[in-house]
Subunit: 432 residues, 2 copies
């Protein structure tokens, strides 16, 4: 793919520590070596700290088209369900070209915000004629044009609610019959550019997928393939699931032996601790989306149970992309828990080094949830990296965790400088 680059920043985040003057060797889109004492760096990043690229484990990119449009409120107020109607209206008015433009704009903004990998939970499969899977290639083209690593979480969507037909905008999501859906997934899989394209399967939710089809998807999907599903974001969804199947969505998944290696449940805002503990014990992961959950008024997840049981199980998603800033997501992941518990360091690990744990949610944990070899500066992983400014004297003189603390608690997407995906600079040193 390219000759080796030897990258030398003033500091680099290696093995969860920020260390000075480490060199990173990049070859063929991968990190070939970390820490080698080379004489001649081909890329010298002065005044910069090198970090692994951020991983956004849950996105619906086209929803950037809702920005500014879904914040009017009827006298009775609004909620997740009224927001969803706005989103369906966006779907109905968005053609193929506009869909691709929106996705590309979202992916480009993600790169500027330091996100090098996106898990795109993709259910908007059909354009106006409601046939084919025309939009799937558009997502891929948008990601390729932007230069972001794409994990296409190909979503299966069959019912409008439990036992209800698809209606209105939902018809653009129609993935039936299941065998045709799986054939399309295999066709996509066969044509991936594996340097920066990956695939997973994503039954949309218990609302949208009948039990037999959910079990069939689990059977079809290889164990290591990402298997993502929306779970328990809203209490109404839980009530309807209990009424229909006698258990909550999370309990339903456990009962039907759906959790496994690739499994990530998105939201879990209202999940009960007992079900969550069992889900985690079976290898399940949880993706939390603080900005979207705040915007939609979903509620506050019980992270205590998740973190006590499996600190590595939490990843982060920008979901509706109302705002794209994983640092703000991490900060408010923690702040919302503090507000609930009236304690600081609500999610801190036993060693008290909270910032490292939060950064892990947006790097290694996300990479694991998406089954991509990225998320750390380590030989053998993809060369997905970002830099932040070290030129502020306070930052340079501060102890290592102080920089991470400042980045997460005081920083924003605007602090990201250079961005590399699969060994290619998509932001940065071109101008240096």
């Amino acid at each position: 793919m390219s000759d080796a680059q030897i990258i030398h920043a003033d500091a680099a985040y290696v093995e969860n520590e920020l260390v000075e003057h480490v060199q990173v060797v990049v070859r063929d889109g991968q990190i070939a070596d970390v820490g080698a004492q080379c004489d001649a760096a081909s890329v010298r990043l002065s005044g910069r700290a090198l970090l692994p690229g951020l991983v956004n484990a849950h996105s619906h990119a086209f929803q950037v088209g809702l920005r500014g449009q879904a914040e009017y409120y009827p006298p009775e107020g609004g909620d997740f369900w009224s927001w969803r109607e706005e989103m369906y209206r966006l779907v109905e008015r968005t053609g193929g070209e506009e869909f691709e433009r929106l996705c590309r704009a979202a992916f480009e903004e993600m790169l500027s915000a330091g996100i090098t990998t996106v898990g795109e939970f993709h259910y908007f499969h059909h354009d106006a004629n409601h046939r084919g899977y025309a939009m799937d290639e558009r997502v891929r083209r948008a990601a390729a044009a932007a230069g972001i690593r794409l994990v296409l979480l190909q979503s299966y969507y069959a019912t409008g609610a439990i036992g209800r037909p698809l209606a209105g905008g939902q018809r653009h999501f129609d993935s039936r019959p299941l065998d045709a859906f799986w054939k399309q997934l295999e066709a996509l899989r066969a044509t991936l550019d594996t340097r920066r394209e990956h695939i997973g399967v994503a039954p949309h939710s218990i609302r949208a997928v009948p039990p037999d089809q959910l079990v069939e998807l689990r059977r079809l999907a290889p164990p290591e393939m990402p298997f993502h599903i929306h779970v328990e974001e809203q209490t109404r969804e839980i009530e309807e699931c209990i009424a229909a199947y006698g258990s909550s969505p999370l309990e339903f998944l456990i009962r039907n032996r759906v959790p496994g290696a690739g499994m990530t449940a998105v939201h879990c805002t209202h999940s009960r601790p007992e079900a969550m503990s069992r889900f985690l014990a079976e290898g399940g992961r949880v993706c939390v989306c603080p900005l979207t959950e705040g915007n939609l008024g979903d509620g506050i997840a019980d992270l205590d149970t998740i973190l006590a049981r499996a600190g590595g199980a939490v990843c982060i998603g920008t979901d509706s992309n109302v705002r794209i800033d994983l640092l703000e997501e991490l900060r408010w992941l923690e702040f919302v828990q503090r507000l609930r518990r009236r304690r600081r360091g609500a999610t801190a690990p036993p060693d008290g080094r909270l910032a490292r744990q939060l950064l892990r949610c947006a790097t290694e944990n996300g990479a694991a949830a998406l089954a991509v070899a990225t998320g750390a500066l380590r030989a053998g992983l993809a060369a997905d990296m970002i830099t932040v400014d070290l030129s502020d004297a306070d930052r340079r003189s501060a102890p290592p965790d102080a920089l991470l603390n400042r980045l997460i608690f005081s920083g924003s997407a605007a602090d990201i400088r250079d961005v590399m995906v699969a060994g290619r600079w998509v932001r940065g040193p071109a101008q240096r």
Copy 2:
């Protein structure tokens, strides 16, 4: 002060509406006219929307020195009180020059974030020798050097807790005796550069000010002067006040007839609805500080009562300045209420136009709380203005509230472009 400037942006926020091609005439640091159809604009801001400068009603600028330093957690976790110990350590290690440098850095960052007026709740009066009010002039110098409009909320601090002596870092805050404090306040007042310096009085809290001295301060302060106090941020503060005086801090203020025209209570995180209603009825205002309250794990204020009774009574502060971004503050002011109530538009006014109400918190309401004639583009007010980018085609084509919605729900401090304070550009058109 200067010749007139005729400023013509593509759009301007006038009377709570974003209107196209309005011209703003600035003369002698004030807005002389809005909407005049002049032929020759002296400053043409293409692709920009002109908004009133943002007002930060509550800041402790020097606390930027804590960034990255106060996020380690002991095994037992931390809270407001352990954070306060960190803050006292910062006070003990910060000399006069460093204090001024920190304040200036904070004020410059505020300007970059579109904050043109800061209410600096200033209690760090003394440097290492614990005498004089050496730090007061340093706050003023820092604000003047940065170019921000300063409302010096001169804070009175006499006890370490109810009935307890000052200890450790608190000795730098010592404002006793009260007559000397008031003499210093009058001395400051006499030397203000009234184009961009203003003064208020700020008894620190019920913890730090004995009842008789609080009443005396109320008596000394002119009714129109800002009179700010920290109230009910923590339940322990409420418990100690009830134990000592038989009522909560807010009830105590009401009982002692402290509320009046200039009155702003900062936080009110745990205030009871009945006391809040009475406080508002007597003209009191409330300053909420979402980022700091999230960082400190204070809890979630009951904004329903405040907004139902007096929508114009809420203003916003960056408080500890852990992060300086009033757009993020506004977004999470609302999101935290949504999470608590599981509704969208939790604080929306009857007309459903939420973004306008939120922006008002960070402009007009803040200006009223600080008794400064700023916070809107209106003839006779100070020429404090900011611009945001309109160059994104989506923004330009969107309906007016869509831009405000995007700014507040999707934007950040990084979206601010030009900044004018008192008729002087402190960011912006110099380079244009």
